[in-house]
Structure formats: structure tokens, C-alpha cells
């Protein structure tokens, strides 16, 4: 007790005076801080124009491209001003703000997220606007138009589309005696065996690795002609085509050893760097999107490469030319403040001029069927026509349109991990997915139905 008092009073008097001001000081500072935080979170709005909020997850050059289109729009008229924001984790933030009753007018999502948002009642159906502005199927590339549809309605509009293809290193392939990319899976397996070099149990060069880049883990089944669900209510993971795909993924681990592959992979650099596995000649072939060209130009322009559609199983020539359709899309959030102005802005974006400007700026193809000659001329991706053509192909596919897709996707990813590590057999893995996800889907559809009937 005594030591306590002496301890406290031992503080030199100058310090003591200073610390006497501690609490009053804090209180005055916090009044300032309060003013500051309130101003920061409620920015004053310019009253002369209607402001609409557009949230995107883009950053870097992709964001810049869109910003320039937005600037054009803002300059072209005086009534509406678009506030463009780049938001990390945009999907979650959009969901949160919509649930809080303060949604932006327009948000950039990925087409794969449409079912989830639509089922949650967060986004508006755009059928009327489509009729009004003439956004019809015949104006758009079929692959890109189809992913906008959900349960018979158009739920979103294209922002920028993309397809993927097998990018291959022509130098490595020709060194192994191949002048053309593989057309069938069987050809590719042969090439992989020939190209892959293993020295002293360590992988020195891989022909192909399903795990690199490992961005579309759900796609192997569809690449072999499988379906992830029956379109109504059944999860169809455990089917022959998907099993075949899983076995094919497993074969890489069986051939080269999971530990060796993991070890090889940990030496890969970050995607956007010269140490990228494909750019650093560590992987001879990989599935990548239309944007890959930019990264090659930026980080290893000397790389000799080309792109081709992903191979198909020999006995499934109907799958030839298939690709994954991905699309960044714009949705209109329910209960946003300025619906009409938002639709007008969307109309502007769907015009050929702005659309091409955006897609060109992001180095992607355009979702409109009609493209100006300048668009092709200015596009510097040597394989751009391939990427565009694939989207017309009937066998192109995209993510299943189910509201529980995030959970389903996570499950598939996990199964792939287990199979690649040789911890589970493909048969077991697929069976487990069905067993786990089917009840979740059933329950999800059930509850959705109950709500609809109760009018909630």
C-alpha cells in the first residue's frame, strides 16, 4: 500500500501536470475525432446532380479502364454523376450493405454469384429494361448471354467477359518434338510424360499440372463432359465423366508423387511476376484466361507462346473447342435510391462504343456480337479471335446456377485436395461430395420454397 502511493507520487511533477491533462485532453480530442469520423462516413453530396453509386472489385489497370468510361459518361451529361468505388471483397460488402438497407445502385459481381444474390432477393430482374433498351439474345455472344439468365429472367448485364484456353510454351513443346498443341486428353498425357523432367526425385519441369494455376478446380468434370448438377435438384458429382476427370487429376499425383509436386509448387513465384510458373518455364502448358497475354507481355515478353482450346477426351469429339465462360457482370441492387438513373447508366455501358472501350482497356473480348474493326485492330492479344470464337461454341460451360454454389465449390476444392494428396480415392471423394452437398441443396430449395409460399 505504501509502496503504491510512493510509486504514484514518484512521478516527477512536470509529468504529473501533463498527465493531469490526460483525461480532459482525451475528451477534447475525441470531440474532434467524432466530428472527423462522422464527416468521413457521411460525405456531403452535391445537390445539383443525382449521384449513383457503382461498386467494383477491380483495381489496377482494370479499374483505370472503367474509370475512364465512367468519366466519359459523367462528362457527357449534366444530370447524373456516377460515383465509382473500388472495394476489396466487393461481393460480401455488397451483400452487407444491401442487408443494411444502404445498397449501391450498381455492383460488379461475377456471373457465378447471380443465383445466390437472386435467391436472396438482393438484385432486380432486368427483363423490362432489356425489352425497353433492346438488350436481346441476338445482340450478344451466346456464351456470355446465357450466364446472365437465371430461372427464366435476365438478372444482370455484362461488364467484361472472358474465356480460358490452354496456353502453351512453343519452345519447350518443339524441343520435345511437338509442333502443335495437344488436341485430345490422351495426346496431352503423352506430351506431359515426354516433357516432364524429374531428376533425383525432384521435379525440374512439368508438362502440365492441374494445380497450376488451380483457379477453376470445379472445371475438370465438365471438361470431360460431366455435369455438376441436373439443372433441377440433384447433385451429380458422382457420375462416370466426373469420375474419369478425377482419376485424370489423380494420375498426376500418381505419376510424380504428391510431395514432389507440392515441393515443386512452393518454388513457384507470385502470379504477377517473372517468377510465374508459366513465365519462368516451370510449367509448359497451363489453363489461363484471355488476360494472360498482358502478364506475359509485362513480365516475360520474350516468352514464345500460343493458346488453344483445352483438349477433349478422344471419345468425346462433341466437346471439342470447349471453354469456361466467366463474366464480370453488373447487377442492379433492390431498393437502391436512384433506379432509373442506374438503368440509364447501364444502357450507356451496353452501347458498342463504351463497351469496347472498357473491354479493350481490360484486354478482354467484347460480349457483343458486333465488333468494330478498330476493336480487333487495337487488340494486341495474338489469340483474341480464338478466345472470342470459343464463346460461340455449344460445349462451353460455366458454374452451376445454384444458390449454394460457394459451399459446393468449397467442397469440390477440398475433394481435389484430398485426391491430389492421394488421401482419398476419386470414387470416395465424389461419393462424399454428393453425400454432403445433396442434403444441403435439398434443404436450401425446401426453405426457399417455404419462404416463397409464405410470401417472405
Amino acid at each position: 500500500m505504501v509502496s503504491l502511493l510512493s510509486c504514484a507520487t514518484a512521478v516527477p511533477s512536470a509529468m504529473s501536470k501533463l498527465s493531469d491533462l490526460f483525461i480532459p485532453g482525451l475528451i477534447s480530442l475525441s470531440l474532434l475525432a467524432l466530428a472527423g469520423t462522422e464527416l468521413r462516413s457521411h460525405p456531403t453530396e452535391d445537390e445539383t446532380k443525382t449521384h449513383i453509386a457503382v461498386w467494383v472489385g477491380w483495381s489496377g489497370f482494370e479499374y483505370d479502364a472503367f474509370q475512364s468510361v465512367v468519366n466519359d459518361y459523367n462528362k457527357s451529361q449534366n444530370k447524373v454523376f456516377v460515383d465509382l468505388l473500388s472495394i476489396t471483397g466487393n461481393s460480401t460488402k455488397t451483400l452487407i450493405s444491401t442487408s443494411a438497407g444502404i445498397p449501391p445502385e450498381i455492383s460488379l459481381l461475377s456471373a457465378a454469384e447471380i443465383p445466390q444474390f437472386a435467391d436472396a432477393g438482393a438484385i432486380e430482374v432486368l427483363d423490362d429494361a432489356c425489352k425497353q433498351y433492346g438488350w436481346t439474345e441476338d445482340k450478344y455472344v451466346p456464351g456470355y448471354w446465357n450466364v446472365l439468365q437465371y430461372q427464366g429472367h435476365t438478372m444482370a448485364l455484362p461488364a467484361t467477359p472472358s474465356t480460358v484456353a490452354l496456353h502453351y510454351n512453343t519452345r519447350i513443346l518443339s524441343q520435345a518434338g511437338y509442333s502443335k498443341p495437344p488436341e485430345t486428353i490422351e495426346e496431352m498425357d503423352e506430351m506431359v510424360d515426354k516433357i516432364t523432367k524429374v531428376v533425383d526425385g525432384k521435379v525440374k519441369l512439368a508438362g502440365f499440372l492441374p494445380a497450376e494455376p488451380g483457379w477453376w478446380r470445379w472445371s475438370w468434370g465438365p471438361y470431360f463432359g460431366g455435369h455438376l448438377w441436373d439443372g433441377k435438384s440433384m447433385i451429380t458429382m458422382n457420375t462416370p465423366e466426373n469420375l474419369r476427370a478425377m482419376k485424370w487429376v489423380e494420375s498426376f499425383s500418381r505419376k510424380f508423387g504428391p510431395a514432389q509436386i507440392e515441393s515443386y509448387k512452393s518454388g513457384f513465384g507470385v502470379f504477377a511476376s517473372p517468377e510465374n510458373a508459366f513465365l519462368a518455364d516451370k510449367v509448359a502448358m497451363e489453363v489461363q484466361g484471355v488476360w494472360m497475354h498482358n502478364f506475359i507481355q509485362k513480365y516475360n515478353p520474350k516468352l514464345k507462346w500460343l493458346a488453344a482450346p483445352f483438349p477433349y477426351p478422344k471419345d468425346r469429339p462433341d466437346l471439342k473447342g470447349h471453354t469456361i465462360i466467366e463474366q464480370d457482370i453488373f447487377v442492379l441492387l433492390k431498393n437502391c435510391k436512384h433506379r432509373k438513373e442506374a438503368i440509364d447508366f447501364l444502357a450507356y455501358l451496353q452501347k458498342q462504343g463504351p463497351m469496347e472501350k472498357l473491354c479493350l482497356g481490360q484486354k478482354k473480348s467484347s460480349p457483343l456480337r458486333v465488333k468494330s474493326p478498330e476493336f480487333w485492330a487495337k487488340h494486341d492479344n495474338p489469340c483474341i479471335h480464338l478466345f472470342d470464337d470459343m464463346a460461340y461454341n455449344k460445349s462451353c460451360f460455366s458454374t452451376p446456377k445454384i444458390g449454394i454454389w460457394p459451399e459446393y465449390e468449397a467442397e469440390i476444392g477440398n475433394a481435389l485436395d484430398e485426391v491430389s494428396l492421394l488421401r482419398k480415392t476419386p470414387e470416395d471423394a465424389l461419393r462424399d461430395i454428393d453425400a454432403r452437398i445433396q442434403p444441403k441443396l435439398d434443404q436450401y430449395l425446401n426453405r426457399l420454397d417455404k419462404r416463397r409460399r409464405a410470401g417472405k
Partner: protein, 292 residues
């Protein structure tokens, strides 16, 4: 009269907390309990479904994986952390020169923001060229692939948690400084060596603090979230680092299943309550309130 006045003053002074208890504790807890019996997503109003969430959890394989992972993590990181924190504190308690510097060094890890910490360790732990494995290699040990080998991802996280014992160490250090030197000197006179002194004087004297830290440690380690969330999204590889709080967050915000997440939350609460009570009961035997 004085008593009445004091009673009223007491109540008034405590008012902010009483309001806080009701508004930010009891009300959310009860609401959370209610939600756990509902189908609730942020955008739709809750619909009562009885115990469906709980029975679904019981049969949910991923739920049990998370439980297992979290318990394994807690069972190792907690005792390990405590031993190291106490050990470090005892080392620092010896009036060595440069105390201020040492103390700061051990404290720094708790200051590094999550995102940077995660990135930093992703580099250090890289299987092939990470600094840790390079260091191990220089003394002849081939380090495992910390980030992608399913058996080594949890140890990697435990290693990182040990690195962050600075906070706990400070508290132990403070309490060690309160151990009366008279007792230690008496023990020395009786011929006790360092270990005996520690075991029979020091540890008992700081046992209340140890108990407190243990309880806080149980509560904290069962909620591990931020680091694995940034470093191992989704609990990769193969859900080896998928912890309870991560699955809860995913259910609430990624799958929009807030009722399900609330059920998980309540189960966690009850488990923590039980474990804390058990831990307190078991350790009370060893705790001495010698105190000032």
C-alpha cells in the same frame, strides 16, 4: 441515509456498464439464441425451424473437422505458450542489462498487423526457399512443407502463436516482480536450488496470474480466426487449418446462413463456459492467494 446515498451513487456510476450489459451483451446473446433456431440470412427475416440447425451441425462433417482442428490447436498452443511466456518472463526478471530492449523485442510481434503478419509468415514458412527451412537446412534438418503439407500446417500456426507470447509475458513479468524477495531469500537460506525455488516459491506466488492467463488462453485459442483466415483461406490444404471461427464466419457471411452460424456460436459459448469452469475447479487446488 448515507447508505442510501451511496447505494444510489453506486448504481448511477455503474449505469454505463449496466446499459452496455443489457444492450451489447444480454440482448445479442438472447437474439443469437433465437437465431440459432431459425433459418436466417441477412437479407431475409428469420423463420423458426426448431432444432434443425443443431441436428444439421451434428451430422455436418465439416463441423466436426473444425472442432477437431480447433481443439488440437488449442491443446498444443496453450500449454506451449504458457511455458514459454513464463520462462521468458523469468529470464527477463533477473535484472539483466538491456531489459528495456529485450522487453520491447519480445513485445514487438503483438504489434504487427494481421495482414502483414500473414504475408510475412507466408514467406518465412515457404517449403522450398523459406527462411525457416533454410535455417533448418543449415543445421542438417530438411524442413517440411509448412504451408502445403497437411500434417505441418497446424504446427506452423502454433509456431506463429508462440511467437506472439509478448503480451502474456508482460503480465507474467509484472507479477514476478511482486514475488517478495524475502521469501526467495528464505528459500535460498534453506538450501533450495533454482528449480526448487521456482517450483515451491515463484510458481505458487504467481499461480493466480497463471490461472487467469490459462482461462483467457482457453477462451482465446478456441476462437482462432484472423491469421488462418488471411494465410489459409478456406482452411487449405484439405481443411487442415479450417478452424471453428472460420467456418462460423463463412456460414454467416459467405453462405448467408446466419441461423446456422448462430447455432455454432452458442455451442462454442457453452463449451467455453464448461471448459472454463472445469479448468477453474481443477486448478483451484494449486492456486495460492498469497498476495500483497
Amino acid at each position: 441515509m448515507m447508505r442510501r446515498k451511496e447505494g444510489r451513487a453506486g448504481f448511477l456510476f455503474a449505469l454505463p456498464w449496466l446499459f452496455g450489459l443489457l444492450a451489447f451483451m444480454f440482448y445479442p446473446l438472447l437474439m443469437s439464441l433465437y437465431y440459432s433456431f431459425c433459418d436466417y440470412s441477412a437479407l431475409r427475416s428469420p423463420v423458426w425451424i426448431g432444432t434443425d440447425n443443431y441436428s444439421e451441425l451434428f451430422h455436418d462433417e465439416v463441423f466436426w473437422t473444425c472442432v477437431k482442428n480447433t481443439i488440437l490447436y488449442a491443446c498444443v498452443s496453450l500449454p506451449l505458450g504458457m511455458v514459454i511466456a513464463i520462462g521468458l518472463a523469468m529470464l527477463l526478471n533477473t535484472n539483466v542489462k538491456g531489459m528495456t530492449v529485450y522487453r520491447t523485442i519480445f513485445f514487438i510481434p503483438s504489434l504487427v498487423p494481421m495482414v502483414s503478419l500473414a504475408m510475412l509468415w507466408l514467406w518465412i514458412l515457404n517449403g522450398d526457399y523459406g527462411v525457416l527451412n533454410t535455417a533448418l537446412g543449415s543445421i542438417g534438418i530438411k524442413g517440411p512443407n509448412w504451408l502445403s503439407d497437411v500434417s505441418w500446417t497446424k504446427p506452423a500456426l502454433i509456431l506463429m502463436s508462440v511467437w506472439g507470447v509478448g503480451n502474456a509475458m508482460l503480465i507474467y513479468l509484472a507479477s514476478l516482480q511482486d514475488v517478495p524477495t524475502s521469501l526467495l531469500e528464505a528459500a535460498e537460506l534453506d538450501g533450495a536450488n533454482a528449480w526448487q525455488k521456482t517450483r515451491n516459491v515463484t510458481l505458487p506466488m504467481i499461480s493466480p496470474v497463471i490461472q487467469f492467463n490459462m482461462v483467457m488462453g482457453i477462451i482465446g485459442s478456441l476462437q482462432v480466426f484472423a491469421i488462418p483466415f488471411v494465410m489459409f483461406p478456406g482452411g487449405t490444404p484439405a481443411r487442415s487449418t479450417y478452424f471453428y471461427a472460420m467456418y462460423l464466419y463463412d456460414n454467416a457471411f459467405s453462405y448467408s446462413r446466419m441461423g446456422y452460424a448462430s447455432a455454432m456460436g452458442w455451442i462454442l459459448f457453452v463449451v467455453i463456459l464448461l471448459l472454463t469452469l472445469i479448468a477453474l475447479k481443477l486448478s483451484n487446488r494449486h492456486v495460492h492467494y498469497g498476495g500483497v
